[in-house]
Point group: C2
Chain length 277, copies 2
């Protein structure tokens, strides 16, 4: 049973490992042979190579589910290996459903070796509540989708509301409120974070204002085109406030260790620049 809150474990791990890089584990069968076993072995190898430069691993459930029961076992093996390597484990499953169902998803994911889960907020507070309750009870965390990194994210997430906000800003305000109920925090960080695409730097400052205490999980760096050097506003003054997730640009690199280290250096420099003011 994990008892230290996720926010504290996250802050401690960033400080100790001097990295905000999240290793996205999305093994694509078009590039990785051998089915579930091949995907597992590929991820174990990448973890061994890149882990020293990362703070967390983020296995993508879709890449494992496509292999059925065997894939699910591979996911569990990969999550355990990442945890054994000292990484926090963020299960990237983007679950979201009515409360009775959300309770089952929370039971499926919010337990060791998983430290945090990505969650879809569309259904609203009562549907997210079981995840919040489970996170508080087990010392795990959530990263709630607020503004995603895909090219067409604006279509529905950026629709302007009658009150002048964009739709995703209303989501952000909810996430801030949801996170306020998960004490204790470390240095102001909540255990309830937000997924914010690194591809939309123009939104980062506003989203940081709306969610002052949320750790941001920032996908979209690398293959999706986001620039890690522009992430300064995302930190919000917290060393662990901006976690940069990269998958394809690291795991398929000729040298995953070098790719992870290079990204770590750029993001760390962005943080140091913020910390110096």
């Amino acid at each position: 049973m994990t008892t230290q809150p996720f926010s504290q474990r996250l802050a401690a791990n960033v400080d100790e490992r001097q990295s905000q890089v999240v290793l996205g584990l999305d093994p694509d069968p078009a590039r990785v042979d051998g089915g579930a076993t091949g995907a597992r072995d590929f991820c174990l190898r990448v973890i061994e190579q890149a882990a020293p430069h990362c703070v967390a691993a983020k296995p993508q459930l879709a890449c494992f589910e496509r292999f059925g029961a065997e894939g699910w076992q591979a996911f569990e093996d990969v999550a355990q290996a990442a945890s054994d390597a000292g990484l926090l484990v963020i299960a990237d499953a983007k679950r979201g459903d009515v409360d009775a169902t959300a309770r089952h998803y929370a039971a499926a994911f919010l337990r060791p070796p998983v430290d945090a889960l990505t969650v879809n907020p569309m259904l609203g507070t009562d549907a997210v509540q079981p995840f919040l309750d489970a996170a508080e009870a087990t010392g795990t965390g959530l990263f709630v989708l607020v503004r995603t990194s895909n090219p067409g994210a604006a279509e529905l997430e950026d629709l302007p509301l009658a009150d002048g906000r964009l739709w995703h800003q209303a989501v952000a305000e909810r996430v801030s409120g949801w996170g306020a109920h998960i004490p204790p925090r470390d240095g102001g960080l909540s255990s309830i974070g937000a997924v914010v695409g690194a591809t939309v730097p123009e939104h980062l400052t506003r989203l940081r204002q709306l969610m002052p205490d949320q750790p941001f999980l920032l996908p979209g760096v690398g293959a999706q085109g986001g620039d890690p050097a522009s992430l300064g506003p995302a930190f919000g003054g917290h060393m662990a406030g901006a976690l940069v997730s990269a998958s394809r640009s690291v795991i398929y690199a000729d040298d995953p260790a070098a790719a992870a280290r290079g990204l770590r250096d750029v993001v760390w420099a962005a943080w140091e620049s913020v910390a110096r003011g």
Copy 2:
């Protein structure tokens, strides 16, 4: 390999079985003992009892995922049993992610014995496109979340937009467009449907206008309080236009067959009332 489009198989199955009832398979470990095996056996028993009165089964992935790899195998066994019993199989997984990931989810679910998948639209067209492409290629279907059945759904889904629509109505217009690209149809029905809570009859007429060709999957009858007799406007003139999903009120009934038959009779009467004009 399935070649007949989902919309045609759905229309034929409703006509042949004279039922619009979808059997929701959400085995809750608080009520069903025995872990993954217990959940599987429970579902197989309920299918045997209730299938004659239903047109489709809707296994809830969360209830299986909580048992890990064993649970995933149980899901596959349950899906196969439902298919063998003549039911269409709707995998209730509510998946949604960026396009590279959505392709993996589509590969995981849109294949026999699964006939259709529930999908979350928040990320927009480019994220849904891989599901649309896979549905068209494999003759499977989708049910996209438009307005969910949970008590707090209004919080984010009903936010009023600057142009006067509600946010979920903008989603509905997209779903209608997405469905238009999945020919051929049967009697005007698309293979791309919508999830619309039966708990919000006041929205049904408007949503049917916005999505004239979508089969509606209507959860929330029974345990969640929706009244099946008020569903007339949901049909849109299609016998297979309104599919009523019930889980707890059927699977935990003393006599699941009687509960399914009773619901089938009420919904069928609602359809006959519409058909008579």
